[in-house]
Symmetry: C3
Subunit: 205 residues, 3 copies
C-alpha cells in the first residue's frame, strides 16, 4: 500500500533528523552523525527482528539506507534552518511512532506471541531507536524520563487488541491503533500532560 510506504519514509525522515540533531549537539563527525541517524531510524525495528529471529528489514530494503543518507545530508547542510521545521518534524515523528507501533504489533502477532508481549514489541519498535541513539550519545534515554511518548504506544497497542476483540475489520484496526497513538501524543504535547511523577514531594503514585 503506497500510503503506508509514504508514512514509513516520513517516519524515517523524522527519526533521522532527530538523530542528526542529537549527534551534532555532541559534536560528532560526519560518520558519527550518519550512524546515529541510522540507529535512531532502524534501531527499534532491528532489535525487534533480532528478538523475533526474523530477517532484519533494512538488510534487503535499500529504501531505508537511501532515505537516511539523503535526509542526513540535507539536514547537515541546512542545519541552521532546522529550527523552522520543528513543528513538521514533530508531526512526522508522531505519525512515525504511530505507524511503527502497529507494524511492531503485527510482526509479533505473526510470530504467535501473547497480546501483552505484542504491545511490548509495538512500543519497542517505535521507541528503542531513540533509546539506542541516547546510549550512543552517552545520555540516559529521554523516553525513560518523559513518559507520554512510550505511554502513547502502549495505549495504542491496547486499542489495537480491543478493536480486534470487538470485531472491527482488520484494515480499520491498523488505522484505529495508529490514530490513538498519534492523538495521545499530540494531546499530551499540546496540553502539556504528563503522568504523575513519583518523585515530587514523594507522593505515592
Amino acid at each position: 500500500m503506497s500510503f503506508i510506504v509514504l508514512i514509513d519514509i516520513l517516519g524515517v525522515v523524522a527519526f533521522s533528523i532527530s538523530g542528526v540533531l542529537t549527534s551534532m549537539r555532541k559534536k560528532m563527525d560526519l560518520f558519527g552523525i550518519f550512524i546515529i541517524a541510522f540507529v535512531t531510524s532502524v534501531g527499534g525495528g532491528t532489535l525487534r527482528d533480532v528478538l523475533l529471529d526474523v530477517p532484519v528489514a533494512w538488510l534487503t530494503n535499500m529504501t531505508y539506507v537511501y532515505t537516511i543518507a539523503i535526509t542526513s545530508t540535507v539536514a547537515i547542510l541546512f542545519r541552521s534552518k532546522l529550527a523552522y521545521l520543528r513543528k513538521s518534524l514533530f508531526l512526522f515523528d508522531t505519525i512515525g511512532i504511530g505507524l511503527y507501533t502497529v507494524v511492531g504489533i503485527e510482526k509479533a502477532i505473526e510470530a504467535g506471541l501473547h497480546p501483552v508481549i505484542c504491545v511490548f514489541f509495538g512500543t519497542m519498535s517505535a521507541c528503542f531507536g531513540g533509546v539506542i541513539r541516547d546510549i550512543l550519545c552517552n545520555e540516559i534515554p529521554v523516553i525513560f524520563r518523559k513518559e507520554i511518548y512510550a505511554t502513547a504506544c502502549i495505549i495504542g497497542g491496547l486499542a489495537y487488541f480491543l478493536s480486534l476483540k470487538v470485531k472491527v475489520p482488520e484494515d480499520f484496526v491498523f488505522v484505529i491503533a495508529a490514530v490513538v497513538v498519534i492523538s495521545i501524543r499530540l494531546l499530551a504535547v499540546i496540553f502539556k500532560i504528563s503522568l504523575p511523577s513519583i518523585y515530587q514531594k514523594e507522593n505515592t503514585v
Copy 2:
C-alpha cells in the same frame, strides 16, 4: 521441577527490585522504571539466547512479564520500606545468580559448545542483565569494578565441569555449581573479600 520455578521467580523478583532501585536513583518515570526492571531481570538471558540463536524465553513465557510487572509496582508503592528488605533482597539476588549461572551453562552445553564458552555463558546469563541496566542508566557497569559477583559465577562454572568430570550424578551437578556460586558470593560479602586490586600503589597482580 516446581522448586526451580520458585527459585527462578525469586531471582526475577530480586533483579526487578534492583532495577527499580537503580532507575529511581536516576529519577526515571514509571515507564523507564519498568523497562529497567525488565532488562535487569531478563537481559542476560536474552543476550544468551540471541547469541545461541535459540528462542528468547520471555517471548513465550508470560511468568516473567507478570512477575516483573507486579514486583515493580509493589516496589514503587513501598519504596520507602525497601531498605528493611535489604538482606532478603541480597539473598534472593545471590540465589538468583547461582541459578542463572547453571541455566546458562546448561543451555550452552545443549548447543554443543566448549566448556570455557559454557562457563562464559553461565556468567553472562547471571551478570549481563545488570550490565545492560547500568548502561541504560548511564553508568559504568558495577560488576566491572566489584568483581566477586562475576568471579563467583566463573568458579561455580568450573565446579560444574569438575563435578561432571568426576561423574557426580547429573542432578547433583546442578546443585553443587549453584551452591558454589551462592557460597562464594555470601562469604565474599560477609568477610568483605575482594580480588587483589591492580591499581592501589601500582602493585603487580
Copy 3:
C-alpha cells in the same frame, strides 16, 4: 590460509590491548578488563553475525578466547611497558581493521546483500567492537568523533567492489581492499589528515 589466520590473531591482540588500556583508565577490575578486551575484539563480528543470523564465530573457535585471555594477562602484567609498543600496536590495529573490513564484506556478500549494505557490514565488523567498548566504559564512541578510522573502512569497501567490477581476480580483491584501508589509515595518521569539520566557525561542509 595461514597468513590470514596470523593477521586475524594480530588484530585480536591489538584490539584486546586497546580494550585493556581503555578499561584500566576507568579503574576496572580484572573481570571488567577481560570483558572489555573481549568485546573490543569480537564485538563488531558478533553484531555482524547476529544481524546476518549466521553462527557467531567465537562460540565455536577457541582461538579467539585464548588469544584474548593471554593478551590481556600479558598486557596487565606489563602495563607499564605498553607505551613502548605504541607504534607496533597501532600497526596491528590498522592491519586488523583492514582485514576485518574485508571479512565483514565477504560475509555480507555470501548473505546476498546489496553492495552498499556490504560496505556497511565491513565497516561495522572493523569498528563496532570499539563502539561497544566505549559504551561499556561510559564514553561517547571515539570513532564517532575521529572519522578517518571508519572512513578508511568505507573507502576500502568501495575499492573492493570497484576491483570486483573491473574483474580483478578474487584473491587480489581481498588484498587490494585491505591495503586501501591500511594505507588510508596510515597516511591519515602520519599526515594528521581528518575530514573537514562541520563545527569550527560553522562552515558549511
